[in-house]
């Protein structure tokens, strides 16, 4: 059990739940296991996994806030990436780990690449003049929350994206473009984020809209990608950009 759930005394039905399990110390490959889980109305996948814990089925998975603000419990549910705490339990559901990051155990994937990416992209404000922000421009205030600040970094959109489906893809993926857009909107950013987006392969996005609609906090990475692209085009047309690093162009494969 990871957190306290009210007891399920009178289940309204018994559901079947399949979980792809893998213990690297014992198994050579992941395998499916099937469990019977009591169901009550509005029960979510997280509670089903926690109930299984109480019964001694120690399926490793991450969870924390259970109200869609931490993004820990992302997994593939019936083949689609989703938050377990946000997905009502249905009969014959199939649960797998996310695919973008390497599998460690059961539903836990190795996300140690994430902090590295943060540092690589330097997604923090660079202007350190010690001065307060006197006024936040209307442009950056408008939609700060609506557009990106709400992102909980669940990596669901990265999993849904068919172009950046692995960590060494030429395109960093929707969440990182969204984070670049956020960094750009901050009044103390002081970096050429458009050029950065170009180097990170924003041109490779096919606007297939797979990342749209999977976001548990209803953000629209596509809208931000389009905005970054149009900014990039404008910047290049009027030639306001600073000297471009050697050998980079829109959508070109990133140097390894």
């Amino acid at each position: 059990m990871t957190s306290y759930i009210p007891p399920i005394d009178k289940p309204q039905a018994i559901y079947t739940l399949s979980v792809k399990r893998f213990d690297p110390e014992r198994d050579s490959a992941p395998h499916w296991e099937t469990y019977q889980v009591p169901w009550v109305v509005t029960m979510t996948v997280v509670e089903a996994l926690e109930w299984l814990w109480d019964q001694g089925h120690y399926i490793a998975f991450r969870t924390n806030c259970r109200e869609f603000t931490c993004g820990s419990c992302a997994m593939l549910i019936n083949g689609k990436p989703a938050l377990a705490c946000d997905t009502p339990l249905k009969d014959r559901m199939r649960i797998e780990p996310l695919t973008r990051y390497p599998l460690v155990k059961d539903l836990v994937v190795d996300q140690s690449a994430v902090p590295k990416k943060w540092k690589e992209l330097k997604l923090w404000p660079h202007v350190r003049d010690g001065k307060p922000i006197d006024e936040v421009s209307a442009e950056s205030r408008a939609g700060w929350h609506r557009s990106f600040a709400r992102c909980i970094e669940c990596y669901i959109c990265l999993d849904a994206c068919p172009v950046s489906d692995t960590e060494d893809s030429e395109y960093d993926g929707p969440m990182w473009m969204l984070q670049i857009a956020r960094a750009r909107a901050h009044p103390k950013d002081g970096q050429d984020r458009l050029e950065q987006a170009a180097q990170r392969g924003i041109g490779a996005c096919t606007t297939c809209y797979e990342c749209e609609g999977v976001c548990p906090v209803n953000l629209s990475p596509i809208k931000e990608i389009q905005r970054l692209r149009s900014g990039l085009v404008r910047q290049r047309l009027v030639g306001r950009r600073p000297a471009r690093p050697e050998g980079t162009r829109l959508g070109q494969r990133r140097k390894q």
Binding site: Y4, G56, N64, V104, D134, V136, A149
Partner: protein, 582 residues
């Protein structure tokens, strides 16, 4: 399973235990002072703490010209039943403002008024609007900014690493003995100064989430620091209870916008308890009244009470209670038509590790900041004060620890107490025991008992029952506790089992403190002593470890509150009453 391999050793100047905003602030400030910093987080950085879930605001900005740190301090003390450490409160209320700018520099944006100045909100118990905010995601925004700064400074973070014991060298803390949940390896972190910035202990009760397990309390006490105010657990009156899948608190706005609380007979029972304020009475009062209704058999079928906004126009609900409306709708529940079931649930533990205004504990080399500390919030926390607490004292702890790390000699390498932990883990895996017990049912029982015996309504019978149960579990069941998941990596069951050891000792002290305090004050409400007693109980109950030859035990001391900043008499509006709540 063998744990006998030598633990890996890491060395640093300042070790920060925790991964929320207080821990990040402490790490950043220590790093700024030039110290080498290492963070260990039981979960993942910026995802595991409570900070991202703080929706309201941070009382950092006394914008009104009539407001001052003193007025803020008075509000804090009145809410805290004068149990607070007043020197700590003075710092809390006077040093917040600089963090508004500091967090902007780290990448946050606060909401602004149309004239460009910072927008401020008023929270219950505050006399002025002084809480800056960022939509209804203030904690998330703060955490995001702090995380960026930790990355910018390239501070080393060990994710999913649990601190098992604070290691001592004679009478000072010199780091901690940790367990990497992801790989199963043990790590001995040798640090000149150690900062404890973990969560509080609300998870001993059926708190809604994964955090707040109270490890920090035990780690500090075990090493030789003091704990105080353990009897004060704040309940939030409106936590989602049914439908089943909805979690977390139903925000205050539910009551502010005119939501009703109903018992099974359809009565607005708050009219009976508080005809004037009704549902808008203070959090503690609404919690107590709800529990009284449930106990009298007038609760809803799943054990909560009804909350309804169905009498309000659907348009109002969809506009002003958008978040709640959408949250329930995603589970197929329409709050414009059906009542929901809510129940008061633990929210914040006001007690914890005693730390002074420089964030020093009584153990040299050990610092504490944030939710794990006592003294800031007294007997009851004022809304939006905790986000100030984590920033102000995170920063102070970081600077104090860095300063100490420069002055103090490096640890000698003598490590008291690490070996016990290896033995404990090995025993947990030893299934030769003939009647092994799993953790989950044991923990579930304790969580449920804490709620029913030491929850909102307390009476001596219940508290003694709980105390007996704690002792029984410790003597009969704990030696048989075993881990059934045999895996070495990501063994979350082992984590829960290890927490059980800490939890029982903290529960024991909570029970004893609550039994000792023969009055009602703040979040501590006793049915046999329903009045506040300032004559006898302007005292803190403090726990510490006392070792004498052949004896090693946790003992308590009852110490008078030092009224060094604001005396009770100075606040006649409060001093003249004997109600437990303000």
């Amino acid at each position: 399973m063998s744990w006998s391999s030598e633990p890996e050793t890491l060395r640093t100047d300042v070790l920060v235990i925790g991964g929320g905003a207080a821990a990040c602030m402490a790490a950043v400030s220590a790093h700024q002072e030039g110290a080498r910093v290492l963070m260990v987080d039981k979960g993942q950085l910026a995802k595991s703490g409570c900070s991202p879930n703080a929706h309201g605001g941070a009382a950092l900005f006394q914008k009104d010209p009539n407001d001052s740190w003193r007025v803020h301090a008075e509000d804090t003390l009145m809410s805290g039943g004068f149990m607070n450490d007043q020197e700590v409160v003075r710092v809390l209320c006077s040093e917040g403002r600089k963090f508004v700018h500091r967090l902007e520099e780290y990448g946050a944006l606060w909401d602004r008024d149309p004239d460009g100045s910072y927008a401020v909100r008023q929270f219950g118990g505050h006399r002025f609007k002084r809480s800056v905010f960022s939509a209804d995601e203030t904690g998330h925004e703060m955490m995001n900014a702090m995380k960026r700064e930790v990355f910018r400074r390239n501070i080393q973070v060990l994710n999913e690493t649990m601190a098992l014991k604070i290691v001592k060298d004679e009478e000072r803390a010199v780091g901690a003995f940790c367990w990497d949940i992801g790989t199963g390896r043990l790590i001995d972190i040798q640090a000149t100064a150690t900062i404890l910035a973990t969560a509080d202990a609300a998870g001993l009760w059926p708190s809604a989430s994964e955090r707040q397990r109270g490890d920090g309390f035990y780690l500090a006490l075990d090493a030789g620091a003091e704990l105080a105010d353990l009897e004060f657990i704040q309940y939030h009156p409106t936590h989602a209870w049914w439908p089943f899948g909805v979690r977390g608190s139903v925000s205050e706005s539910f009551r502010i916008e005119g939501g009703w609380l109903l018992n099974s007979e359809g009565e607005r029972f708050m009219e009976r308890y508080d005809p004037e304020k009704k549902e808008l009475a203070t959090r503690d009062k609404v919690s107590v009244c709800s529990y009284l209704e449930i106990r009298e058999g007038r609760g809803a079928p799943h054990g909560g009470i009804y909350a309804s906004v169905a009498h309000l126009p659907a348009k109002v609900i969809k506009e002003r209670l958008r978040v709640i409306y959408r949250k329930y709708l995603s589970y197929g529940y329409d709050v414009t038509k059906d009542p929901i079931e809510i129940r008061p649930r633990p929210h914040y533990h006001c007690g914890g590790v005693r730390a002074n205004a420089r964030s020093e504990t009584t153990l040299p080399g050990l610092y504490a900041a944030g939710a794990v500390t006592a003294g800031v919030h007294g007997a009851n926390r004022l809304g939006s004060n905790s986000l100030v607490d984590i920033l102000v004292f995170g920063d102070i702890a970081g600077r104090s620890a860095a300063d100490y790390a420069v002055r103090a000699p490096a640890p000698s390498g003598r490590r008291q107490g690490a070996a016990d932990m290896v033995a404990r883990v090995e025993r947990l895996f030893d299934l030769a025991e003939d009647k092994p017990l799993p953790t989950a049912p044991m923990r579930r029982r304790h969580v449920e008992w804490m709620d029913s015996r030491l929850g909102v309504l307390r009476n001596p019978e219940g508290m003694r029952e709980m105390l007996a149960e704690v002792q029984r579990t410790r003597e009969e069941e704990l030696p048989r506790l075993r881990v059934f998941d045999r895996s070495r990596i990501y063994n979350f069951e082992l984590r829960d089992a290890l927490e059980m050891f800490y939890r029982l000792d903290v529960e024991d002290m909570v029970c004893r403190s609550a039994l000792m305090r023969t009055e009602s004050r703040g979040s501590h409400y006793r049915e046999d002593y329903p009045r506040r007693n300032d004559r006898e109980w302007l005292h803190n109950i403090v726990w510490l470890r006392r070792s004498s030859p052949g004896k090693d035990e946790f003992v308590h001391e009852i110490r008078p509150v030092a009224q060094t900043v604001i005396r009770l008499e100075d606040v006649p509006a409060y001093a003249g009453q004997d109600t437990p709540w303000h």
